[in-house]
């Protein structure tokens, strides 16, 4: 099992995964994962279907535990705090570590309220209200960041369900960003989208990586090579290799990584 290589020695990792194990009932789905996810930039988790990519991603905001019969052992350090510590507040964790799901699920609210939802439940809207129409401005800001503002600015009160799938995914991005997460987890965020919408999402994520840590799960090697700064390769629940994207794609050390990258397995 390989140890993580730090991306650059100047900044400390944002997340440090230490001996993480996950079981679904008796199936040992993740086996002793050690990895470091660098601050800012895009980290891609790649590997064939069923290798534990999504499991690893969902263990980072502990959404994994919403399922039944799941057991997690190990530590994930977020800025020197173990998120699996008993004192960890799950709602605070999930506010700081946001998620973009594979298929967009807008909330049963208007377009405006979808973006405002997170700010309202965290009381951020009270700060917003202090200054006149600040919540409106925030909603506009995040819709712009997600590249959706121009298409919806005249129908903010319309139901979010009326948007196209591509627009819904950008709305979900705006909604996730509105609670100001420091890390954004993306679980195959373009898998339900047409190529044009997918490209849009990719571009937004690349802009966001300047000041947000992004972790993306993808089964598309081309997507990973387009976007990633750092890559984690999983195989059958084990971390085989991880490192800076350029290095890993050019000179994979492990024979399984080589075979996967050349399309011989997975």
């Amino acid at each position: 099992m390989s140890q993580a290589l730090p991306l650059n020695t100047h900044s400390s990792p944002h997340l440090r995964i230490q001996d993480l194990n996950v079981w679904y009932e008796t199936n040992h789905a993740l086996r002793g994962i050690y990895a470091e996810i660098p601050t800012f930039g895009i980290t891609a988790i790649i590997g064939p279907s069923g290798c534990g990519k999504t499991t690893l991603l969902r263990s980072l905001n502990r959404l994994l535990e919403e399922g039944e019969g799941i057991r997690v052992k190990g530590q994930v350090w977020l800025n020197e705090v173990d998120i699996y510590d008993r004192v960890m507040d799950l709602n605070e964790l999930r506010t700081r570590v946001g998620l973009l799901a594979p298929k967009p699920y807008p909330l049963p609210l208007s377009i405006y309220e979808n973006v405002a939802y997170g700010r309202r439940i965290h009381g951020l809207d009270v700060l917003d209200k202090g200054n006149g129409r600040n919540l409106d401005r925030k909603v506009e800001h995040y819709l712009r960041t997600a590249g959706l503002w121009e298409e919806v600015k005249d129908r903010l009160k319309a139901p979010a369900s009326a948007l196209s799938t591509g627009q819904q995914q950008r709305l979900c991005l705006a909604r996730a960003l509105a609670v100001e997460p420091e890390i954004l987890l993306c679980d195959e965020p373009t898998s339900a989208l047409d190529p044009i919408s997918a490209q849009g999402i990719e571009e937004q994520l690349i802009t966001l990586k300047e000041n947000t840590t992004i972790v993306i799960v993808t089964h598309l090697l081309r997507q990973a090579s387009r976007m990633a700064d750092y890559v984690i390769f999983l195989w059958m629940g084990e971390l085989v290799e991880c490192g800076p994207a350029k290095e890993l794609f050019k000179n994979p050390k492990d024979s399984r990584t080589q075979a996967y990258l050349m399309g011989k397995i997975g």
């Binding site: 919403e66 700081r96 699920y105 909330l107 049963p108 609210l109 208007s110 979010a160 369900s161 909604r175």
Partner: protein
């Protein structure tokens, strides 16, 4: 196609048509009888007056006491039942309740559902005697709300279970608590289902005679106090049918007609109203 397959196909087709005709026919038969015997007896006085002297002998008066009584009983019971049912349904579906506990709660509700309503009435009556209470609107509301509870919880639970897991997770992953998710997302998303559950329960409550017989009593006066007896439409039907006068028996059918129209009218209005609040639902 084989002969056997053809026979099977046509046999089941015929069976389905017969069952449908049977169900629709029963409904039409009931509606027809009630309309045919009740409509001629129905006049404005029946809807606007309480029984006057000699009403049960066929003289003037109406069943306003029973109409208002039934609305108070079933309306009150439905409000109490909603307050109790919604948290149970949300708890069972959204919170990590152990399977053992869940199964026991469901089994208890199913047993309650299957309990004959006269048993509710008898138990309510026994308890009321023990507490020194008289037959009253309050007693009727309490017993009816227990009668409505199981049907409402199971209906609501069914509706809540249809919410996609990914929708719940998208709320959790914004840092929302289960409570916030339940009331801000799930209730909005499942409103039509919740309303159906409430209407089913209301229908059962307003149509039940046996459970209010001992607990709410009967009176010719309009309902004025929670602690006084009230009349109800099912009992109005029962008592009037029991008289030997055909004119009074026809009024029983008229009372039944009023009951049906009340339930139907409420269903239609609440469905029309609910579309106003469901435009944001994710399909």
């Amino acid at each position: 196609m084989l002969i056997k397959q053809k026979l099977e196909e046509s046999f089941f087709k015929i069976l389905m048509v017969i069952s449908t005709i049977f169900v629709l026919g029963s409904l039409l038969l009931i509606l027809g009888t009630v309309l045919w015997r009740g409509l001629p007896a129905l006049d404005l006085a029946m809807l606007t007056q309480a029984p006057q002297g000699g009403y049960y002998l066929g003289k003037e008066g109406g069943i306003l006491n029973a109409i208002l009584g039934s609305l108070c009983l079933a309306g009150g019971a439905t409000i109490v039942a909603v307050i109790l049912s919604l948290p149970i349904a949300l708890y069972l579906q959204l919170y990590p309740v152990p399977h053992f506990t869940k199964n026991w709660i469901r089994l208890s509700l199913d047993i309650l559902w299957g309990t004959p309503s006269i048993v509710y009435g008898a138990i309510g009556f026994t308890l009321m005697i023990y507490l020194g209470m008289r037959a009253s609107l309050l007693g009727g509301i309490i017993v009816l709300s227990l009668l409505e509870l199981p049907i409402m919880v199971r209906g609501m639970e069914e509706a809540v279970s249809m919410v996609p897991k990914a929708l719940l997770e998208s709320s959790y992953s914004l840092g929302a608590t289960r409570f916030e998710t339940a009331f801000k997302v799930v209730v909005r998303q499942t409103l039509p289902g919740l309303i159906t559950a409430i209407l089913l329960a209301f229908g059962r409550g307003i149509g039940d005679a046996a459970s209010v017989l001992f607990t709410a009593g009967y009176t010719d006066n309009l309902p004025t106090s929670l602690l006084r007896p009230v009349a109800s439409l099912p009992l109005a039907v029962f008592f009037q049918l029991g008289t030997p006068f055909p004119a009074v028996q026809d009024r029983a059918y008229a009372a039944a007609l009023v009951l049906i129209v009340l339930v139907l009218g409420l269903s239609i209005t609440s469905r029309l109203l609910s579309t106003r609040f469901t435009k944001n639902i994710i399909r």
